[in-house]
Symmetry: C2
Subunit: 481 residues, 2 copies
């Protein structure tokens, strides 16, 4: 007998679920590998479309030239000894060279560990960005650079969760990082449902009743998580929803964790940061909301940046006790520091070329091109869904996802049960096998009892693949009518 078996390892690791990279994703990679080796002869498709994860550069999105020119110089500073070659033969602009020099001066080598919470000069850039975005001060000392937002969430939940009865209010549907991390930490997820009828907005009555019920059950509810713009829902919250959540958190003394990684992926209305809305509330009602503890997170993985593989991000803490921050600092120290090239990409993300800078024209052209491309794909996919029987999907508002409701027949439900799957898992598996398109069943994110959904990104280029979904769906509905 091996010393470690699935029955004796950490039961909380065993219990964790992470569907985004689960069975369907593994199967799609097997199909891809078979096609690459020319062994996909039996498959009814010649290409796998990974619409299961928000991984822009795996599909069509190109990195932004300014960012990558800077990082190429950070990787090989010897290139800076040949400025004339960079400028005259390779098309590097002077602002690229200046930025790389400044970053190297601030960082030393990108191959050296930085300070545990990140390079001080980069934290200053982030603070400046936050001040310009929100119109309120930000303190670099309260900013922590992280290996993507996931790592930041991991740090924060590790610190907040003290016992199995620590409760964290989590929106449902949610990005499964949250429930998976709470499983690993053996803490309690207190789910609150988002309101599909209200474009997946937050409904304060629902939040309050989830909170009250948990409290009555002896749960020590400490924190509320909000994902805005939403994942998997694609919702973009109006300011009044954010105000309501903050006032509730203030009244009940809850820490607010705002996952704002899709803040630039907004098609409808505008993005309102929790930090800005909190500061406005504090101004309007002096003394009433001073104690609110807010952690807000951002990332280089999403938006028009899309640098997932570089694992960069940050979180800002507002209103946290200094001794608690000291423990957060210690916790991040154990893993030494966030990847330094990822930290540098945070810097260029928050401080991109400005009008008049030599790289500005290309930068804004690339940035706007990506934004428009995403909007067009979202619209095309939404249109395809609107033509599909039993599929309902709100207008695309933001993030990188659509999360349609699907209504399946009892016959489909029985066929799913016979395979030991939920109906949405069954549907997604058949979709993958028939079309090579990998999406994630709604059950991976949580959904109201009796409702069925799937999440798809709208990152893949072209319209051919949406046509494949429409065709599959029609056949599936016929088969199980």
């Amino acid at each position: 007998m091996p010393r470690l078996t699935v029955d004796n390892i950490n039961p909380h690791v065993r219990a964790a679920k992470y569907a985004v990279r689960g069975e369907l994703a593994v199967k799609s990679e097997q199909f891809r590998a078979a096609l690459n080796k020319g062994e996909g002869g039996d498959l009814p498709f010649d290409q796998v479309i990974s619409a299961n994860i928000g991984n822009p550069q795996q599909l069509d999105q190109k990195p932004i030239t300014f960012f990558r020119q800077v990082t190429s110089l950070l990787e090989n500073p010897q290139l800076l000894e040949k400025e004339d070659v960079l400028i005259n033969h390779l098309g590097y602009k002077t602002d690229v060279i200046e930025r790389a020099k400044w970053l190297l001066k601030s960082v030393g080598s990108v191959g050296a560990y930085s300070a545990s919470a990140g390079v001080p000069a980069i934290k200053e850039s982030v603070a400046k960005f936050l001040e310009e975005r929100d119109g309120f001060p930000a303190n670099p000392a309260n900013i922590y650079l992280s290996a993507g937002a996931s790592s930041g969430v991991n740090t924060l939940l590790h610190t907040i969760c003290a016992a199995p009865n620590t409760g964290i209010l989590i929106p449902i549907p949610q990005y499964p990082l949250y429930t998976a991390t709470l499983s690993v930490l053996d803490a309690t997820c207190v789910p609150y449902y988002l309101d599909e009828a209200k474009n997946w907005g937050t409904d304060l009555n629902t939040i309050r009743s989830a909170y009250e019920k948990a409290k009555a059950d002896g749960i020590d509810v400490r924190c509320i998580v909000i994902i805005n713009p939403g994942n998997p829902t694609g919702a973009s919250l109006p300011e009044e929803d954010i105000r309501a959540v903050l006032e509730f958190a203030s009244q009940e003394n809850l820490v607010v964790m705002a996952d704002e990684v899709y803040q630039t992926n907004v098609f409808v209305g505008k993005f309102h940061s929790f930090k800005q809305v909190l500061r406005k509330l504090q101004q309007e009602q002096p003394g009433k909301h001073d104690g609110v503890e807010l952690a807000s997170l951002h990332s280089i993985s999403k938006g028009m940046v899309g640098e997932c593989g570089h694992r960069g991000g940050y979180f800002e803490l507002v209103g946290f006790d200094p001794e608690v921050e000291a423990n957060i600092y210690k916790f991040v120290s154990i893993m030494l520091c966030a990847p330094v090239i990822g930290q540098c990409l945070v810097e260029v993300m928050v401080n991109p070329p400005k009008a008049g800078d030599p790289s500005y024209e290309l930068y804004s052209q690339e940035y706007n091109g990506i934004f428009e491309g995403l909007r067009q794909r979202a619209t095309a996919l939404h249109k395809a869904f609107s033509e599909m029987e039993g599929v309902e999907c709100g207008e695309p508002q933001g993030s990188m996802y659509l999360f349609p409701t699907i209504t399946l027949s009892a016959k489909a439900g029985e066929a799913a049960a016979a395979e030991g799957r939920t109906p949405d898992e069954f549907y997604c598996m058949r979709l993958l096998e028939a079309t090579g398109i990998c999406v994630v069943p709604g059950s991976g994110f949580g959904q109201k009892e009796g409702s069925l959904h799937f999440r798809t990104t709208f990152l893949a280029p072209g319209t051919e693949w949406t046509g494949r979904i429409v065709k599959f769906h029609k056949e599936f509905m016929e088969q199980y009518r």
Copy 2:
């Protein structure tokens, strides 16, 4: 009252200790910042020497040109459209360009998430390296790329530790990642002392009695950690020590975790990998040690690579149950993937230019230069210690550290107690304040009751700073005689 206070956050995070980046490190950064701003007028030194962490590129070590030329192309693949410029104006060799093209083909964009356990082609390179190093097969499916070895240790301990009475045998002195992670996981550290008289080797009797005592106390001891070459000790284990540990682990059915990040930093004898010695044992005694579960870790942060800031590494699993591996895969999935540029640096580390390749000459010159520099600095520092009253230190054998014993007077002990410090903390704090040199007190790693040590890297260039230590020590000894 804030919702989170130091008294109600996760008690296991609060309990974790990580001295390498603790009070002394924070103070040294404050000194450095003051000197940089020209505000160090009162300080008796004009430079801070960070000898507290193994961070080669923060000090004198230059990155290896081949590695960084490759990563510069991975960051900006547009450069590959100008091969003539790369070759004729920038000195890039053809093997740099070929490697970058191959990696880009394998990875796609370095800005995209890779598969959760790492890029398949890079795992194949690692397996090939292990086969050549050890003379035994390695399977890419059992290799997991990680964000430095620290992240690998975190993953493994998360999976292994199931309850507060899960015990892990940890060498003392140890790298505090281990005890800090066990604190966070609320599992039990079962310390076993290394034998300072035997060049900090492992002593099987000591290990066995630590194990038996823990078992008698109701601890479910599951795993033994070995750090070879040692951190903080600098020891390089002889093959017989490794055999003895493996035979013991086999007999007691313990998982073996071999932290081998310093495998190329060996000055005395040669490095023996746990994997190779295990396979030899299995050959010699057929059927007797088949069940041994071994996890061995490596990193790009150490050795002549020294790419700490890029957060790259891997671990190989041998003999693990497939269902346990599936849970490890799921656990790493939650954080998505290791930094992709770090993964690419793992590839070039395990597959560097070979004799005859265009980049080989420069590569081997740089590699050997770094190795010789480290050896010379270790020797110079060791010589300085040999001249210091009450300081004893074995010959430098490997890794990046020396870990001398210091004998301090009772008067120094009283002065330390008056400040609420251990005598070694007191000594290191006075050293920092007097010289700007930051080292880590032995208590941060664990040491036998009544003995005192400190750990210093030998990465800083020059001999001036070692002279400062000698001078300080003399004055300290006089003052507290």
